[in-house]
Symmetry: none
Subunit: 264 residues, 2 copies
């Protein structure tokens, strides 16, 4: 695990007065896929519910340990920084920062390099009207997701998904985002299992190709130089592997003396 | 509108054999919030449906103009680049690139600086098992979302939301380093004259290749599926141009009925 990813445990996702229980379930699933655990629910309309559990899929553990609160203040207890999510400009509001920019400040906000990292919260308003002004007053920063101005209506859980994704990406080792994937999720490292063909093998293959194209009558009628140049360019772009050169040469060999009759 | 955002109209979101109509509706909403329009559905289990419409919320227009197809090939007609989304490693698979890295290449893949941008597709598999190997064979690149290795099960529409968000961000972020240079200082765009082959042309070329390899006796003795998959991967890496496909098909034609005798 990237050393920093445990810091996601210091982030809370806070949903205020959520109307649809399905959104609470989908939020739990979105959080867990990105490695988040701490869900706080301020006056959810319906919770718990079978619909939440169903949409949480394999993330019902997040729902089971969710903290239900009467007020937003209660949900923020112990946090030292609070970021509200908003899609709209507010009068007298804080500046609206894109979530990617906020995520870039995450290590600093969490005090990632200290012995006692800080707890921070990301607060989401209702499905219909977002965060109230009173709720925004509790936030030190307001973040937004740069959406289509003609239709910016992200589903609540979809917004949580993007926020959690951005935060995870910010803590992942920037140089190697695949490092935390289990081996089974990673394709073979290109240099480890791929055996590239050497230039000399490739040149021999081109010679064989040219000779073959003459023998089937393809190069006679055309401009041999130009055709060979195009074919070289085409193969060059794909950075041939040894086994591929072997397959090609096997084909060229049979092109010169096929084992069966042509089918047309 | 950022000048480049209209290029999102050259991107398709393709869902293969989706089981739950709700996911189709949520996908439409996710797409529209990020400025995407073109939804292709390959053999959806249920479509159209009241559930899709309900979850699409204000994005029912995307559903109304969605293209329903029988095969993935049909959904990819006219595209010159295809990116599959996958969470798992596959045998003989392409390398798995994080979606942010793929998004970073978006302007190049779309040929954003040319007069005729290319159409490209992002392909999503079923909720249960993702893309099949046959579907992955149609992709030139495979992208993944770096998720929690202990629970990487993103909802389908949530995955579409992240992909569309990343693509939008990539076009928003894009700086044009050539913008302030005088015209005389700018080299002609190397890609301006390149005409990429469409996926349908490429598929016809593969069919022709397979038929030809049978006719010369190459595929009889070997494992046809594995050989064809390797050849597809090899060609996929080089992003074929129209003229190259024509050259290849000209060669295949003569392989089946050579104009002169083999020289050895």
């Amino acid at each position: 695990m990237t050393p920093n990813l445990h810091l996601l445990n210091h982030c809370r996702i806070v949903l205020c007065q959520t109307s649809h229980p399905g959104n609470i379930g989908s939020t739990a699933r979105a959080m867990k896929t990105m490695g988040f655990q701490n869900l706080y629910l301020v006056q959810p309309k319906i919770f718990p519910s079978p619909e939440s559990n169903s949409l949480a899929s394999g993330a019902t553990d997040i729902l089971e340990k969710a903290t239900v609160c009467h007020t937003l203040e209660e949900a923020l207890a112990g946090c030292t920084f609070v970021i509200g999510l908003s899609a709209r400009r507010r009068q007298l509001s804080h500046a609206l920062l894109p979530i990617r920019e906020v995520a870039g400040r995450l290590p600093e906000l969490l005090q990632a390099h200290t012995e006692s990292p800080q707890n921070i919260a990301f607060v989401f308003g209702t499905e219909m009207s977002g965060l109230s002004n009173a709720e925004l007053d509790l936030c030190q920063m307001v973040a937004m997701i740069p959406a289509n101005p003609e239709y910016a209506s992200l589903n609540l859980a979809a917004a949580v998904q993007i926020v959690c994704y951005e935060l995870r990406m910010a803590l992942l080792d920037q140089k190697d985002p695949l490092r935390d994937l289990p081996k089974s999720q990673i394709s073979p490292q290109p240099d480890k299992t791929i055996h590239y063909a050497s230039i000399d093998d490739i040149e021999l293959m081109y010679e064989h190709l040219e000779q073959t194209l003459y023998s089937i009558g393809f190069l006679k009628a055309k401009e041999p130089g130009r055709i060979m140049q195009r074919l070289r360019r085409m193969f060059a772009r794909s950075r041939l592997e040894k086994e591929e050169v072997n397959i090609l040469r096997g084909i060229f060999k049979l092109m010169q003396s096929p084992r069966s009759n042509p089918i047309d």
